[in-house]
């Protein structure tokens, strides 16, 4: 099997390879495998680093997780949140990128930069600004649209409001990713379509879109991973309220781990979340694979 690459392995190749492989293995063992092991063990314990408790509980933390109403509320919220935000992120990102890419728009790098601004702004600050914009009395949104909605405190709109803010912050990322995807498309395929008399929509639907599929998959997967872990916007904008209507799974973990110091329970929650992330990631690979 070595022959495919090149027949002779030089001494320097072996040295370089060994250094790199060993460094990787050590690094990932120390900063990933060992922590995961500790967290996994911890998830079976009552673990509070402040009081120094570390008592074996068996499956109790996991049982508590699954029997907690808040957990299920938050999972449902996380699901709604992730799906909606990802759909809009991908849709807006693709649409806008295609518009900028088209020959109809001139100041391409201007638009690219504008849409990317929210991406590079810290979430903490963005969340505060939007909290003001959503204010029922003095908020820009109610004033511009002449509405009288208590966005962040109405159970019907609170999660929606957080999602809108997140879409606003993140769609620019998808725009740039799709721009990159579009620039690397093989021009001959597009030319061929033109020659065959395909209209703009047909070219987009049957040529461009399928060619962009790896990029879509990339955006979707990175989004799943990051949205399942989102909590800062909740922490600042709603603290999970009103009641428990906007609890997201990661917010509970943050709350349990670094507010209540229930490391054991928080670890159990993390593992449940990890398994769910893995399943969804695997599903998106499957879905995209099955179309081919």
């Amino acid at each position: 099997m070595f022959k495919k690459s090149h027949p002779l392995q030089s001494k320097s190749e072996i040295i370089l390879r060994n250094i790199v492989v060993i460094a990787m293995v050590i690094f990932f063992t120390v900063f990933l495998i060992i922590p995961i092991g500790i967290a996994f063990a911890g998830s079976f314990h009552e673990w509070n680093p402040l009081s120094g408790t570390y008592n074996f509980l068996g499956l109790k933390n996991y049982i508590d997780v699954f029997s907690s109403g808040l957990f299920w509320t938050s999972m449902l919220n996380t699901l709604i949140f992730s799906v909606v935000v990802i759909i809009f992120r991908v849709g807006l990102g693709l649409g806008i990128a295609y518009a900028i890419y088209s020959s109809l728009v001139k100041y391409k790098s201007f638009f690219r930069a504008v849409y990317y601004m929210p991406v590079v702004t810290p979430m903490v600050a963005v969340a505060f600004v939007w909290k003001f914009m959503y204010n029922p009395q003095i908020g820009t949104i109610n004033q511009i649209f002449g509405l009288d909605i208590n966005w962040l405190m109405n159970p019907k709109t609170a999660l929606l409001a957080v999602m809108i803010m997140t879409i606003w912050k993140d769609f620019g990322y998808a725009v740039v990713m799709y721009m990159a995807g579009l620039y690397s498309l093989p021009t001959d395929a597009l030319e061929a379509a033109k020659v065959d008399g395909a209209n703009a929509w047909q070219t987009f639907r049957y040529i461009t879109l399928p060619l962009l599929k790896p990029m879509t998959l990339f955006v979707v997967i990175t989004s799943i991973i990051s949205y399942i872990q989102a909590y800062v916007q909740i922490l600042i904008m709603t603290e999970g309220g009103p009641g428990t209507t906007t609890y997201l799974a990661s917010y509970i973990i943050y709350d349990e781990a670094f507010v209540k110091y229930n490391f054991g329970y928080a670890s159990a929650l993390s593992f449940v979340l990890f398994v769910i992330t893995a399943v969804f990631t695997w599903l998106s690979f499957r879905v995209s694979g099955s179309q081919e």
């Binding site: 070595f2 495919k4 690459s5 090149h6 030089s10 320097s12 040295i15 370089l16 390879r17 790199v20 492989v21 293995v25 120390v30 900063f31 990933l32 922590p35 995961i36 500790i38 967290a39 911890g42 806008i96 728009v105 001139k106 790098s109 638009f111 690219r112 930069a113 504008v114 849409y115 990317y116 601004m117 929210p118 991406v119 590079v120 810290p122 903490v124 600050a125 963005v126 505060f128 600004v129 003001f132 914009m133 003095i138 820009t140 004033q143 606003w168 620019g172 990159a180 995807g181 620039y183 790896p214 990029m215 990339f218 991973i225 872990q229 781990a257 928080a266 670890s267 979340l273 990890f274």
Partner: protein
């Protein structure tokens, strides 16, 4: 004619969306020149009615912007340079060398990308304490040295470099270290710049980890420093917005300067994944 109309329509839509995107920033920048009572006043005006620059001037009392900025820049650059180097060399080894366990190792690297922060952050925190790295940049930089995302992307990218060039160098008697540093590294520049920008932005915005491990005020980073304005009983919004406004400027500049390479880099690696 039809083309012209659709061009105008498209531009108008993009500009409208642009306004929606930018408006919160304009609001924030305007608010940074207002007193807190005006920011929260019932009568809202976009432009400050009493124009003050105190938020910027007084900011340094609690928020040593230049200090935080220098710290963030140092840590972020260190992480970015290290990750770029480790990702490229790992990507090179994983894509151009064939050896036993290679696919296993690569699969493992892929899997690391899926692990949420919350799984490892608690044990990592206790480990950092054991190592005695608390309150030092070691705690920020060393655990971030290798990136699954970076390795994955550089592997994809370097795989597209033609083997012939490497072979030619080998025939000329170059050893692998020379080949990597003098041939692969320069040729992978697009991939490198996309990884660099991603990593730069992530490290720049990272909040929870520096917040947990850095205690001394003088060592704190910008993203964490922004929370200084959130007090026990109230938040100093004017100062927060002023600080945010000046903190995002450097990142915007970096993005503006390198956006071409950034996009080319993503195009070169991610799409072919």
């Amino acid at each position: 004619m039809k083309r012209k109309i659709s061009s105008i329509a498209l531009n108008v839509i993009l500009i409208l969306l642009g306004v929606v995107t930018v408006y919160p920033f304009i609001w924030m920048v305007c608010s940074s020149f207002k007193q807190n009572s005006e920011i929260m006043a019932l009568e809202q005006h976009l432009l400050p009615q009493t124009f003050i620059i105190d938020n910027y001037i007084n900011m340094n009392n609690r928020f040593n912007f230049l200090r935080f900025f220098a710290n963030s820049l140092f840590v972020t650059l260190a992480i970015t340079l290290l990750v770029v180097y480790t990702s490229t060399i790992c990507g090179f080894v994983l894509s151009k060398y064939k050896f036993k366990g290679r696919n296993l190792l690569f699969g493992f690297v892929l899997a690391t990308m899926m692990i949420p922060w919350c799984v490892t952050i608690i044990p990592k925190y206790t480990m950092i304490q054991e190592f005695g790295w608390m309150d030092s940049y070691k705690a920020l930089i060393i655990p971030a040295m290798f990136s699954g995302f970076g390795i994955f992307n550089m592997k994809q990218h370097i795989a597209t470099l033609p083997d012939e060039i490497l072979e030619a160098a080998r025939i000329d008697g170059a050893d692998e270290f020379y080949i990597f540093h003098r041939i692969v590294l320069p040729m992978a520049k697009n991939g490198i710049s996309s990884i660099a920008i991603f990593q730069f932005l992530w490290a720049w915005e990272d909040y929870l980890w520096p917040y947990l491990v850095i205690n001394t005020q003088e060592k704190q980073l910008l993203a964490v420093g922004l929370k200084m304005f959130n007090g026990q009983y109230s938040t100093d919004y004017g100062a927060l917005f002023a600080a945010t406004a000046i903190s995002i400027i450097p990142v915007l500049i970096i993005y503006l300067v390198f956006q071409k390479q950034f996009i080319a880099g993503i195009a070169a690696s991610a799409v072919k994944g």
